[in-house]
């Protein structure tokens, strides 16, 4: 009598996907995993409340001329909205991003991933895509929808005639915002096995740099050192993209350089930390 296992194992002769698309598998698994968490769904819904408030504002401005002078949407309205959504993006980054690599490290999952036909870049891109999906969902998506709502409520494209740079500005500013957040978080997540510690580290990085900036403002009386703060850099570049007066005295180009440096540092950390084996020499 043959053993039971003889009846269950068969060689596989079916189709195999060519290498290079596995990052989508990783991204969708991450997205599905997060969507199963009720608390996270609550956070996502809450992140859309400002969108509803702005939509009501646009409706009132379009339908009640007596108040339209006060609350009429302008480029600054969208710039403020993007900045406002940054707060929710911060919480989403912590909720989704802290465990993205740290949990895999804790469970020794990296050697499982990297023993499959995927590259380290694909793994990182898959994890990054998970975080970007949700971050863009609370920044870019509501901002673009808001623009469409303004056009539909007003019944014309006057806002685009007046501010033709608005759609690319929304796209570019939210992309910069979410890339800074997601790359920084992913790099920090690769440094530890504890998602909780990563969350503290990320919060610390954001608040510590802002606190130092605040202290220097108090000492120097100016805002020329805004480049020290991560959030101030993003804010300064966002002002420039929306063609708004800068919030700080430091040039936006310096803020952009700091952001690019931060992205390069994050990629470098990920390159060093995402490996199938940890070598301690």
């Amino acid at each position: 009598m043959s053993p039971i296992h003889d009846q269950t194992y068969r060689r596989y002769e079916g189709h195999r996907e060519p290498p290079g698309h596995t990052w989508t598998v990783i991204a969708w698994a991450g997205i599905r995993n997060m969507l199963q968490k009720r608390a996270f769904l609550g956070l996502l819904i809450f992140a859309w409340v400002p969108f509803l408030v702005r939509a009501v504002q646009f409706y009132v401005a379009a339908n009640y001329p007596q108040v339209s002078q006060i609350i009429a949407p302008a480029a600054s309205t969208f710039r403020d909205f993007v900045s406002q959504q940054g707060t929710f993006a911060f919480f989403v980054t912590i909720y989704v991003g802290a465990g993205l690599i740290a949990s895999d490290r804790r469970a020794n999952a990296l050697q499982i991933y990297l023993s499959k036909p995927i590259s380290r870049t694909e793994y990182i891109v898959g994890k990054l895509a998970t975080l970007l999906f949700f971050l863009l969902g609370v920044t870019l998506l509501p901002a673009l929808l808001l623009l469409l709502i303004q056009i539909s409520f007003a019944g014309n494209i006057a806002i685009l005639r007046e501010y033709p740079y608005l759609p690319p500005a929304i796209l570019l500013s939210t992309l910069i915002q979410v890339l800074v957040m997601s790359c920084t978080m992913l790099a920090l997540s690769s440094l530890s096995n504890s998602p909780r510690y990563v969350a503290i580290l990320y919060t610390g990085a954001i608040f510590f740099t802002t606190a130092i900036f605040g202290a220097l403002v108090a000492i120097t009386g100016g805002t020329r050192v805004a480049w020290i703060s991560i959030t101030s850099n993003v804010s300064q570049v966002t002002d420039a993209i929306f063609r708004q007066p800068p919030s700080y005295e430091s040039p936006w180009q310096i803020s952009m350089l700091v952001i690019l440096g931060l992205l390069a540092l994050s990629i470098s950390v990920l390159e060093r930390r995402v490996k199938g084996v940890e070598v301690v020499s």
């Binding site: 053993p3 296992h5 003889d6 269950t8 194992y9 068969r10 060689r11 596989y12 079916g14 189709h15 195999r16 996907e17 060519p18 290498p19 596995t22 598998v25 990783i26 698994a29 995993n33 465990g99 949990s103 895999d104 804790r106 469970a107 020794n108 999952a109 050697q111 499982i112 991933y113 990297l114 023993s115 499959k116 036909p117 995927i118 590259s119 490996k275 199938g276 084996v277 070598v279 301690v280 020499s281």
Partner: protein, 314 residues
């Protein structure tokens, strides 16, 4: 379908050196792993896991060349990993998943479409004995179950070659026996070449036909286990009363190999081509030289003998 070039040997290493800082984990290792079941044997720290991880592309050697299934590890790591299954030594799983989702996910990572990966996951989980527990979260599994799920994720995409790193670690005797049966079945009946890395000689002897013995980052010996055990014949432990040196000389004159041990027992290898029978031959020689045989016990050459000899403990 993935193009599957054929190669006579599963793995070939040519003067491979791996360094961790100043430490040399592998020192100019050259070895050939034929298709079938090959044991990678050696004490802890011999370089077995380092070799497997180098073959997977996790570690880049400082010198030498490696081929897996006829493909160069340095230039085609992805193609190689598409045809490889790897069961790591330590606990490893994707967090937050039940067993069937985890194994199906691993199948998708290896390139299987979602539906096929899910079907294979169910089949493979039944095969490794986790059919009834397949909807349980992997984190709640016992050590033995975790070993089985690691085997399942290595098998789900139907690899041509399996790397098993200490697959029986932490298992109870019954579980260990079942795991070894599974591995033997995979290697001998399912057409999947297997490299079994272990420091447990009985595991390797039970599963494998060939062995590569490693020690201190070098290959001590390699070849078919039967061949390494020596030619056909029998080994006896013999103790005599009489002139020992004269008796040894008489045995050796008859082509019988003798090794004195620390105690008063010597190991005697009697070739099998004697028509009279191996033990009778010893008695005849003893009688003709006036020596009393006080103790004669058959001692079969084991893989342990090969291992001890290879790493210089004999």
């Amino acid at each position: 379908m993935v193009n599957r070039p054929d190669s006579a040997d599963a793995v070939v290493l040519d003067k491979v050196t791996v360094e961790y800082g100043k430490n040399r984990a592998l020192q100019e290792v050259s070895a050939v792993f034929p298709r079938g079941a090959v044991g990678l044997l050696g004490p802890n720290g011999a370089g077995k896991s380092t070799m497997l991880k180098s073959l997977l592309g996790f570690i880049k050697p400082t010198a030498g060349a490696m081929q897996v299934l006829g493909l160069d590890v340095a230039t085609k790591p992805t193609e190689i990993r598409a045809r490889l299954g790897y069961m790591p030594e330590n606990d490893a799983h994707i967090p937050g998943m039940n067993a069937v989702t985890f194994v199906a996910y691993c199948g998708q990572l290896a390139g299987l479409p979602h539906a096929d990966a899910m079907q294979r996951a169910h089949e493979v989980l039944y095969y490794v004995g986790l059919g009834e527990a397949r909807y349980r979260n992997v984190e709640t599994y016992s050590t033995g179950m975790k070993q089985r799920i690691k085997l399942a994720q290595a098998l789900v995409h139907d690899p041509d070659l399996l790397f098993l790193d200490e697959p029986t670690n932490g298992m109870d005797p019954k579980g260990r026996e079942e795991m070894l049966e599974l591995v033997r079945d995979i290697a001998h009946n399912k057409g999947i070449s297997t490299i079994l890395s272990s420091h447990l000689l009985p595991d390797v002897e039970f599963v494998c036909d060939h062995v590569v013995v490693m020690d201190k980052g070098r290959v001590a010996t390699f070849g078919p286990i039967q061949e390494l055990k020596g030619p056909a014949g029998r080994v006896y432990e013999v103790r005599i009363k009489g002139d020992l040196q004269k008796f040894i000389a008489a045995l050796e004159a008859q082509g019988i190999e003798c090794h004195e041990t620390d105690e008063d027992i010597m190991r005697v290898f009697v070739p099998a081509d004697h028509a009279t029978g191996e033990s009778a031959r010893v008695f005849q020689l003893a009688a003709s030289h006036g020596v009393q045989v006080r103790h004669l016990r058959p001692s079969l050459p084991t893989l342990e003998d090969v291992f001890a000899k290879a790493i210089g403990e004999a």
